[in-house]
């Protein structure tokens, strides 16, 4: 599947396209099929996202899992600071992405 990610222009936060808007949570990411370019062009010119790009992912337990570790790290946070990830209460989350 193809999912979209980028950063919020003002805050810099990592965001994922959920089909209607940009979400902070990779769990909300949806398959955009062949719409990637069109959505990115539209959203970037509206400044709702900064530097978007498409990511190949695999549906795993109903959730998109990016194929490249870089995007999995983006989806969670720094693996060396569990307290600063999006799942500070779930230390196993780090093992799941690396």
């Amino acid at each position: 599947m193809i999912i979209l990610t980028g950063n919020d222009l003002k805050s810099g936060a990592v965001v994922w396209w959920d089909g209607a808007e940009w979400s902070l949570h990779i769990e909300s990411a949806v398959d955009v099929g062949d719409e990637a370019e069109a959505i990115m062009a539209r959203e970037e010119s509206a400044r709702r996202v900064n530097v978007p790009y498409s990511v190949e992912a695999t549906l795993t337990d109903g959730i998109a899992r990016p194929n490249h570790i870089k995007d999995r790290v983006r989806g969670l946070g720094p693996t060396v600071r569990p307290d600063l990830t999006l799942k500070p209460d779930n230390p196993a989350a780090i093992e799941e992405i690396v």
């Binding site: 003002k10 810099g12 990592v14 570790i69 870089k70 790290v73 720094p78 693996t79």
Partner: protein, 543 residues
């Protein structure tokens, strides 16, 4: 240390206003990301893996306690309570919001700090010897020359869009503590046969994907021609450095392709022309700068250390450096706790280091390129009190230049360019060598880790270097041996095929075991490697 006058202050204030306006234009959509990117980079603002990252300049690594307190305040107010000290003596924050950038710069400007030219294809922050003004072996304090170059390079109208980034280091001792020959321009302040002070220029060094050691292109530039000569070096590069391929755009490639001799000829020709242009500040300007770096009021005192506490004695042996005044030492605050993140410091730790600098080191601190902090002028009589406070804050790890004192770039945990993570490796290696007790038997061993070919972790210059690579989406690590960034500058050689994370940690232990088995009296790891060569290490690793 240097103090801004109204002109310096006006320059940084103007920059705050300019960047605030640029950021606002980006937010308002008047600038596209393509147009904004080079502008924000010239102000140290990156878009990283998780957020914007802001790199703040610490000119030649020197700062005072007020500045360190503000760095801590910024970490608390605008970031997540910590900062990361870098291999170019700067500090960077990982969780910055674009809309806060102007306010952060304004806070910095109040204490004579900025983020000017900490990134982008321009002349970067000038780096120097972290023991400048304190080391027993220096000819003069190199920082006045670095300050002169800082002002010249700030907003230089001709050199803001160079082919690639440009890094300058200035030292003034034969012992190189700044990796001088691995810079685009390395300057050593020297004395000639007539006893005059001048500058020896090394041009075209660098790490990255094609590491090179800079050749000397002129062994003596008179001080009243220092800026003019630098300008000539830059103009030749700006005109002829490659722009067709970003990986061949650094000056090292130009010098290499032209040959040092031809590059030098062109520089000399340009220099002769520029000498007629009146672009050199008067010597009086250098003389104006020098007193800012005058010695503080050192006092005679105890010259010996009470070694009855072995932990303290070990810290003194490892983490202090000989001072030019025999009642003082330079003390190194390790930002490499066992299992910690190299170079990271919490706001609380920064506040403490600032307080300790105020109390024990004439209000001065230095950032080392090895990602530690120096208190340059500590009375030997105060060392125990200082150490006690550092220990209590987790800042007293006695590991300077030991295997646990690892340089590591942020790697794939933070950096959008990285191919592999660096920090977890550093954490695991320092833990392993502490647990197995080998750190204490290995002596000086410089381990450096980069998460990609850009080599921010200086892996080429590590006695042991580790480079993270992307093997079809999986982290993989190459090992290299025999590098050095000291006065015996050398580039490490790759051992052979790479390893996974556990494998490379195992491999580091294997090569240290070869060293321990083969070393002769007084030999460091690097010395043994240089004597016996790669073969015994390779054999142990792969056979």
């Amino acid at each position: 240390m240097y103090k801004y006058d109204q002109y310096d202050q006006a320059m940084v204030d103007a920059r705050v206003a300019e960047f605030r306006d640029q950021a606002q234009r980006r937010i308002d959509g008047k600038l596209t990301e393509d147009q904004f990117k080079p502008l924000r980079l010239m102000n140290g603002l990156y878009l990283q893996l998780h957020a914007y990252m802001l790199r703040v300049a610490v000119p030649y690594g020197t700062l005072n306690s007020t500045q360190m307190h503000v760095l801590a305040d910024i970490a608390d107010k605008y970031d997540r309570g910590y900062g990361h000290f870098t291999t170019r003596q700067n500090i960077q924050y990982n969780w910055i919001k674009l809309e806060d950038a102007g306010d952060i710069l304004a806070d910095l400007a109040k204490v004579e700090m900025h983020a000017i030219q900490t990134s982008g294809n321009c002349i970067r922050n000038i780096s120097s010897d972290h023991f400048a003004g304190a080391a027993q072996d220096e000819l003069v304090d190199p920082r006045p020359y670095a300050e002169l170059l800082r002002q010249w390079s700030s907003f230089h109208p001709e050199f803001m869009y160079l082919p690639r980034k440009f890094k300058i280091a200035v030292i003034a001792s034969d012992t190189d503590r700044a990796a001088m020959r691995l810079h685009d321009i390395g300057i050593q302040i020297v004395k000639n046969a007539d006893g005059e002070i001048g500058a020896s220029f090394y041009v075209g060094g660098g790490m990255g994907r094609t590491p090179m050691i800079a050749p000397n292109i002129r062994d003596f530039v008179p001080l009243d021609q220092l800026i003019t000569y630098s300008e000539a070096c830059l103009r030749v590069y700006n005109r002829y450095g490659r722009r067709d391929n970003k990986y061949k755009a650094r000056i090292k490639i130009l010098v290499h392709e032209l040959g040092a001799e031809e590059y030098t000829r062109q520089v000399e020709e340009e220099f002769a022309h520029l000498l007629e242009q009146g672009i050199e500040p008067p010597i009086a300007e250098l003389e104006r700068i020098k007193p800012f770096f005058a010695d503080p009021a050192f006092e005679d005192g105890t010259k010996t250390v009470d070694r009855s506490d072995p932990d303290f004695a070990l810290w003194v042996d490892r983490n202090t450096h000989r001072h030019k005044h025999d009642s003082y030492v330079s003390a190194v605050v390790s930002l490499k706790p066992v299992g910690g993140i190299p170079g990271d410091a919490t706001a609380e730790q920064m506040h403490l280091m600032a307080d300790l600098a105020k109390e024990y080191s004439f209000d001065e601190l230095r950032v080392m390129h090895t990602q530690n902090i120096v208190l340059p002028h500590v009375k030997i009589a105060d060392l125990h009190a200082l150490w006690t406070k550092l220990e209590a804050a987790g800042l007293g790890t006695p590991n300077l230049d030991q295997i646990g004192d690892i340089i590591a770039c942020p790697g794939l945990d933070y950096c959008s360019l990285a191919n592999a993570r660096s920090i977890p490796l550093a954490q695991k290696i320092s833990e392993r060598f502490k647990a197995n007790g080998k750190e204490d038997t290995l002596g000086e061993l410089k381990l450096k880790i980069s998460g990609c070919i850009n080599a921010c972790g200086h892996h080429h210059a590590g006695h042991i270097g580790i480079l993270g690579v992307d093997k079809k989406g999986v982290e993989n690590y190459q090992l290299s041996l025999g590098g050095s960034e000291a006065e015996d500058t050398a580039l490490g050689k790759i051992t052979g095929r790479g390893f996974d994370e556990d494998g490379v940690i195992e491999a580091v232990e294997t090569v240290t075991d070869v060293y321990l088995a083969q070393k002769e009296d007084g030999e460091r790891f690097l010395d043994t490697y240089n004597r016996i060569g790669m073969a015994p290490f390779k054999e142990a690793l792969y056979d």
